[in-house]
């Protein structure tokens, strides 16, 4: 097992290096030179040369890359052009909100998707099966921001059940030691604030969770259908185990193997989907922050944000891979 984990960890090195090269090339290829951006209209050939020298931009490209790599590995991601704050500080302020939103969306999609897929497979080719397939097909066909708009219109604008924008009501004032608002509300012992934060979370989480929900439902259904025909299920039934026990201990446990992989792979989807969802609900996470940076052409933020999200996705996928090895010995021992 240790060898398996070490091998997976070693695979990280080329991926992270490649990622850094990709982002470095991306920065170099951006329109306009950094000196031009810094100096603006005051740029003369002399001052440009001076700035280039000062920032090492006249050095060979591999020296520049090495320098970039060193700075990035020390988490120096540059300064936001609009706020003059370090990009890392802003990520620290914004990321907790997106984590909360993503966890809520993941919970929504898992808690509904797995039972939905399971019962659809148990009632294969019935109305329930067709309806759940239809819902999941719809889920992957609807643009996430359109669903967000519809949800906002129906439940926030029309019915007024839930708030339209933001993460917390402006009137509520609680200290934010962690920036995870749910945690902050709990720490403050303020149940009113907690309920308010949860209310703000519901619509964005449902919108963001729609695609994972559809995917998880489909995979669970397919996996349960597959497992049900296995010999060991027939054996379990033949030896007289109660159907419920067979379903829980044998069918579901084995069917959840492929599902667990898919759940892990949804993290990238959640984080990129957050850009659209957070935009619609003006939710102050990393997504709406990136969206603002895009329209401001705030390149340090775009670069730092994309790199940060990609690294998170790489690490989550690594964890998924390792945990998959833990629950499935065939993968762990299978060599390649």
């Amino acid at each position: 097992m240790l060898r398996f984990v070490v091998r997976r960890l070693l695979l990280l090195v080329p991926i992270l290096l490649g990622l850094s090269i990709l982002v470095f090339v991306w920065i170099r290829a951006l329109p306009g030179s950094p000196a031009q951006a810094l100096l603006g209209e005051r740029a003369t050939p002399q001052t440009i040369h001076q700035i280039n020298h000062q920032y090492g931009l006249d050095k060979p490209i591999y020296v520049q890359y090495w320098r970039y790599l060193k700075e990035t590995s020390q988490l120096k991601l540059g300064t936001s052009i609009t706020t003059r704050q370090p990009v890392l500080t802003e990520i620290g302020q914004r990321f907790p909100a997106t984590v909360e939103l993503s966890i809520a969306a993941a919970l929504f999609s898992i808690l509904i998707g797995i039972p939905l897929g399971f019962f659809a497979a148990k009632r294969h080719r019935t109305v329930f099966d067709h309806v759940s397939l239809g819902i999941s097909l719809f889920g992957i066909s609807i643009p996430i921001f359109f669903l967000a708009l519809i949800l906002k219109y129906v439940f926030a604008v029309r019915l007024g059940w839930l708030p339209t924008v933001g993460q917390i009501s402006v009137l509520i004032n609680i200290p934010h030691p962690t920036n995870f608002y749910i945690l902050d509300a709990l720490l403050a012992g303020n149940m009113g604030a907690l309920w308010d934060v949860v209310q703000h979370l519901i619509l964005p989480a449902v919108a963001l969770g729609s695609i994972p929900l559809a995917v998880i439902t489909r995979i669970t259904r397919a996996a349960v259908l597959d497992v049900q025909n296995e010999d060991y299920i027939r054996t379990a039934r033949a030896k007289g185990l109660a159907p419920r026990i067979v379903d829980l201990r044998h069918v579901l446990r084995n069917a959840l193997l492929p599902v667990s992989t898919i759940v892990g792979l949804q993290v990238g989807l959640l984080l990129s989907g957050a850009i659209l969802t957070e935009t619609v609900f003006a939710y102050p996470g990393i997504g709406s922050w990136l969206r603002q940076a895009i329209s401001d052409r705030n390149y340090p933020v775009i670069q730092g944000g994309i790199l940060f999200v990609a690294i998170i996705v790489v690490f989550v996928n690594l964890l998924v891979d390792i945990s998959y090895g833990l629950i499935n010995p065939r993968i762990r021992l299978g060599g390649k």
């Binding site: 080329p14 921001f145 359109f146 906002k152 989907g273 935009t279 999200v309 891979d321």
Partner: protein, 303 residues
């Protein structure tokens, strides 16, 4: 075995004779979902092609008199789907929008597919260090969420319709590469390849006339599904303001951008283009699913 290899094993298709396609078509015709999908896609393509004939108004023509009483008058006899905040006919804009979505879908999938086929086939057929190198590159590209990468590429190239198509195309490259490599690998060891090699057929000829045709069916399935994703992603980029920069361009994603402001007074401005996106994407997804089932060797002969 890694997760990706498990996936490629799933899409492996055993070498099937000429019967595969006729069999698939027969099964496709019995699949109600696939038929609905085909109808939706047919309507979408027809509307796109015949846009100038179908659209009752010029999609870019503004009539500010219509919005004098505020935004925006809803559906009426003259404007079946109402007018937008600049008094432009919503129906005509949606009809012309189909053209752009179709164009975006076809161009971006073609870019992804052609590059992916070349790289994947080379990687799978030659193996060795070429394969390792190319696959590590693919791994890196797959590590970045697709939509995020598309945003990065558009930020680099500057916003615009052409840039959106290129960006979505590039995002598709690693997916097609990996898929094609997987199926070429599965084909390479087949007996007919061995036989062709034994009688001295050139490697390039084996690759082009024996391996590729047999490895292509999962790619067709993925291609159909990628069309759906391309339309959604293009709309998403348009929604973020990275699409066509001329605000009069009737692109579905663009059309949704400003509607957030009028959600209280004119929700139909968001609903109609949104429904257009959903229906066209649903069509491609239904066909893709139907094809997947029809071409699945495990299901062949059944139904």
């Amino acid at each position: 075995m890694s997760v990706a290899e498990l996936e490629s094993r799933e899409v492996m298709i055993e070498g099937a004779g000429a019967g595969l396609w006729s069999d698939a078509l027969r099964r496709l015709r019995r699949n109600p979902g696939a038929i609905v999908g085909a109808v939706l896609v047919a309507i979408f393509v027809l509307v796109a092609l015949a846009a100038p004939l179908l659209a009752p108004h010029d999609p870019r023509a503004q009539d500010l008199n219509l919005i004098i009483k505020g935004c925006c008058p809803g559906p009426s006899a003259h404007h079946l789907l109402g007018v937008d905040d600049l008094g432009r006919d919503e129906l005509s804009r949606i009809i012309y929008g189909a053209r752009l979505s179709l164009l975006i879908g076809i161009v971006s999938v073609s870019v992804g597919l052609s590059l992916g086929i070349v790289i994947g086939a080379i990687s799978g057929f030659f193996g060795g260090w070429i394969d390792s190198l190319l696959m590590r590159l693919v791994d890196i590209m797959l590590a970045i969420p697709g939509f995020l990468m598309a945003i990065g590429i558009v930020a680099l190239l500057g916003p615009g319709l052409f840039q959106v198509m290129i960006a979505i195309g590039i995002v598709n490259v690693p997916i097609f590469t990996r898929l094609l490599r997987g199926s070429v690998l599965a084909q390479r060891e087949n007996d007919f390849v061995l036989a062709a090699r034994a009688v001295g057929v050139r490697r390039r000829t084996i690759l082009i006339s024996h391996v590729l045709p047999n490895a292509i069916s999962p790619v067709i399935v993925q291609g159909t599904l990628a069309l759906a994703t391309a339309i959604i992603d293009a709309a998403g980029l348009g929604f973020l303001g990275l699409g066509p920069q001329d605000p009069s361009t009737p692109e579905w994603g663009n059309m949704l951008t400003d509607t957030v402001r009028y959600l209280q007074t004119a929700p139909f401005l968001a609903i109609f283009p949104g429904v257009a996106i959903v229906l066209s994407v649903l069509g491609f997804n239904l066909i893709g699913d139907g094809l997947r089932e029809a071409l699945d060797p495990k299901l062949r002969g059944r139904a």
